[in-house]
């Protein structure tokens, strides 16, 4: 008996030690990929730290810090922007807020992760006092997605208006006039013509939320209603998923996207080589075009989404990143004022467009001369980008985010799109109902 006990102890130690003596784990802890500093040489400057997962966002805030220090020398900031890999940054933040130390002053939180930070006692500072006077100038749906109980916790990065990017080279070859595409029926007809004449698919469908969320939101449906009740398997969603299924598996005008999404190396190469005739995705994808798909310069035209019927929204605000101030900041007021300056003010919103190519969440700048000035996005695409936006401004549908949104997104990635569209092992109705049941079991 004693011997067995000893053996168990030895085995236990081996297991614990081996299990802990890890190899270099690339996904946890560790240093920032890149650190940018502004104003650290200034006297009396107050330290502000910012975490993000996108190098472009770090550049954006660094240039805002430079402008801030010029404008408010008496409130100068020594600004440090640290860029981490996506998962690592969110994990570190979660643990820092959970444990009560180590969090930065300002932080970028992606929309799918935002609900995690609104649970329990919220560890972020409300931004209401900054924006309440100016709510009319915002597309307020974009503020609501980072809010809880009437408080706004995140400064939006863009409107994320979903549009259709048409590859005019392919559309011309197929003899389709893109301005004649008004309804989704037109879109399907055009798609058939494209496939027939060129052999190229009209579009591709992502395995993730890009493949369903914009479409159901356009029809004023969602995964959750405004009371937080799960509506994942309601009739509109089933009908819409059947429509997606029809495009892919019946009409054959769409394929599943290479790599399963629109942000993978496989997809960039495919799209750049003229692999598909059109792409339904939010405006912020412009940056991806100019960065990863240079061959398409001058060939892409942006148009609003087609609709099913008159009551549908002309566009839907999708995706997003909210910048938040944490309650661990020693200078909450300064951090909030700087955040307003960088991202919520008119000037900040203009820079969101000129520096990042994002459609600003404040619509009152869409007409501003600085926004209308020539830049690489107008050169890559065309001049009337913001006229399209102004035209559909009153018709922006948005999404409801709850603490269980991450569960639904996971079901979409893992089961719904795969089973219903790619493998067709379930009908759209079965896939949605089953997924909804699983989410409900977590919600109780």
């Amino acid at each position: 008996m004693k011997k067995l006990l000893f053996l168990s102890l030895v085995a236990f130690l081996i297991v614990v030690l081996a299990a802990c003596g890890g190899d270099g784990d690339d996904t946890a802890g560790g240093d920032a990929d890149e650190v940018e500093t502004v104003g650290t040489d200034l006297e009396d400057a107050t330290d502000l730290t910012f975490w993000t997962f996108a190098g472009t966002h770090a550049d954006f805030f660094a240039s805002a810090a430079e402008r801030w220090n010029e404008e408010y020398p008496d409130r100068a900031i020594a600004f440090t922007a640290e860029t981490y890999p996506f998962d690592q940054m969110h994990n570190n933040l979660l643990l820092a807020l959970q444990s009560g130390s180590g969090a930065p002053d300002l932080v970028d939180i992606e929309i799918a992760r935002f609900p995690n930070f609104l649970q329990g006692d919220v560890q972020l500072e409300p931004l209401n006092d900054l924006i309440e006077g100016e709510l009319d100038n915002f597309i307020t749906e974009r503020l609501d997605i980072y809010g809880k109980d009437g408080n706004y916790y995140g400064a939006p990065t863009h409107l994320g208006a979903t549009v259709v990017y048409y590859n005019t080279e392919i559309m011309d070859e197929a003899g389709v006039d893109i301005d004649s595409i008004v309804t989704w029926d037109d879109y399907i007809e055009a798609g058939k013509q494209v496939v027939e004449t060129t052999g190229i698919p009209m579009t591709t469908i992502a395995d993730g939320w890009y493949g369903i969320w914009p479409y159901i939101t356009q029809r004023h449906s969602d995964f959750f209603d405004e009371n937080g009740e799960l509506t994942l398997d309601n009739d509109i969603n089933i009908e819409t998923l059947e429509f997606i299924n029809q495009m892919v598996n019946e009409d054959g005008i769409a394929e599943m996207s290479p790599g399963g999404n629109y942000h993978s190396e496989e997809f960039y190469g495919f799209m750049n080589d003229g692999g598909q005739a059109s792409l339904v995705i939010p405006m912020f994808y412009m940056k991806d075009f100019t960065t990863y798909m240079e061959d398409l310069e001058g060939k892409i035209e942006i148009r609003p989404m087609p609709i099913w019927d008159e009551s549908d929204a002309r566009t839907v605000g999708m995706g997003g990143t909210g910048t938040a101030v944490t309650n661990q900041s020693e200078n909450v007021d300064l951090a909030k004022d700087f955040l307003y300056f960088a991202k919520l003010s008119e000037e900040g919103n203009i820079h969101l467009w000129t520096e990042l190519g994002f459609d600003p969440p404040r619509w009152d700048v869409w007409d501003a001369p600085e926004v209308r000035e020539d830049n690489i996005y107008y050169q890559f695409f065309h001049d009337d980008i913001f006229d399209i936006l102004l035209d559909i401004r009153d018709d922006v549908a948005s999404v409801n985010i709850t603490e269980h949104t991450p569960d639904v997104l996971d079901e979409i990635d893992t089961n719904i799109m795969h089973n219903a569209i790619r493998e067709q092992s379930q009908t759209p109705e079965e896939a949605l109902r089953e997924a909804a049941d699983r989410v409900r079991s977590v919600m109780d």
């Binding site: 236990f12 081996i14 614990v16 690339d26 329990g120 006692d121 496989e266 996971d410 790619r422």
Partner: protein, 308 residues
């Protein structure tokens, strides 16, 4: 002044003497390990155990009894367990048998360019798995023009959607792991081969033993401790596998074909912000690894050997 410094010197000497005494010095030497073990391993293990009975939100930590454990045994968990077990068995088999053969080839006098082969096999283990994953994903992309599908096409086989079938998903993970760890395991076995006295082979040859008899009766028995060691670490590494799945699908694979136990822990604990549930999964993984390792070590007789 000088008096105080003398006493402090005296004190120091006494302390040094005490630390150097035969009874104490072993503990001094092992103390760094013991301390780091207590702080970095034992404390988190105990803490994780406690957390597995809690629901954890910022500022709101509540005990919820067994409810985390009640939720664990669901279809998704069983799917993860199944994937992990299959993966573990395949990697243990491949990463023990193939390296032995490779090591024997590399040890043979007849092989040329040994150093090149040795380094070529070892380099993958130095590569970041994230970088390797990107390359693997491109090689095994679903388009007809991807390398793997072109090779299949050459043999007249249809293109495969590598990342979307459950058999090919397992193939990808096992291939990536085998590619990464092959070189390291070859090194273990090469070291083991150096310990075999050459005289044994010579006398076996005189007795007329052929290659296979020599392998079976001399090489294998001498390599047994290494085989036990390599298979033990492979079993444990198999159960706690995470990266090989993460680089292909991150945390959400279609139909959970790439979900592993640790992936499930990460997905639920961190991504869905359910740390209590994640901790409970961790405790279950620990128990599983413990039991399997114990069985394996008992079966291979590892405890009977003094030189393990």
């Amino acid at each position: 002044m000088s008096a105080t410094s003398a006493t402090s010197k005296n004190k120091q000497n006494k302390l040094m003497k005490f630390l150097n005494s035969k009874k104490v010095v072993p503990y001094v030497f092992v103390s760094p390990f013991i301390l780091s073990f207590l702080v970095l391993t034992l404390y988190p293990t105990i803490q994780a155990f406690i957390m597995s009975f809690q629901r954890i939100l910022p500022g709101q930590v509540t005990f919820v009894g067994m409810s985390n454990y009640d939720r664990i045994f669901n279809p998704t968990f069983y799917k993860a367990l199944q994937n992990t077990t299959v993966y573990m068995i395949l990697t243990v088999f491949i990463l023990v048998t193939v390296p032995i053969l490779l090591a024997i080839f590399l040890d043979s006098k007849l092989t040329k360019f040994k150093t090149i082969f040795r380094s070529a096999l070892f380099i993958p283990s130095l590569t970041s798995v994230i970088v390797a994953g990107v390359i693997f994903r491109l090689v095994f992309a679903e388009s007809d023009t991807a390398v793997a599908n072109q090779v299949l096409g050459f043999f007249g086989v249809d293109a495969v959607n590598w990342r979307y079938n459950s058999w090919s998903a397992m193939f990808l993970m096992v291939t990536l792991a085998s590619w990464r760890w092959m070189g390291v395991n070859v090194l273990y076995f090469l070291a083991g081969l150096q310990n075999i006295p050459k005289e044994l082979y010579e006398s076996a040859e005189i007795d007329g033993a052929n290659v296979f008899q020599k392998f079976k009766n001399i090489t294998l028995p001498f390599l047994k401790p290494i085989i036990i060691f390599v298979s033990t670490i492979s079993i444990i590494a198999g159960f706690r596998m995470f990266e090989e799945s993460y680089v292909f699908w991150e945390t959400s694979s279609p139909g959970n074909i790439g979900l592993t136990l640790v992936g499930y822990l990460y997905q639920q604990g961190i991504q869905q912000n359910d740390m209590g549930f994640g901790a409970a999964i961790g405790v279950v993984i620990l128990i599983i690894i413990f039991v399997v390792s114990l069985i394996q070590l008992l079966l291979t007789g590892a405890f009977k050997r003094s030189d393990m």
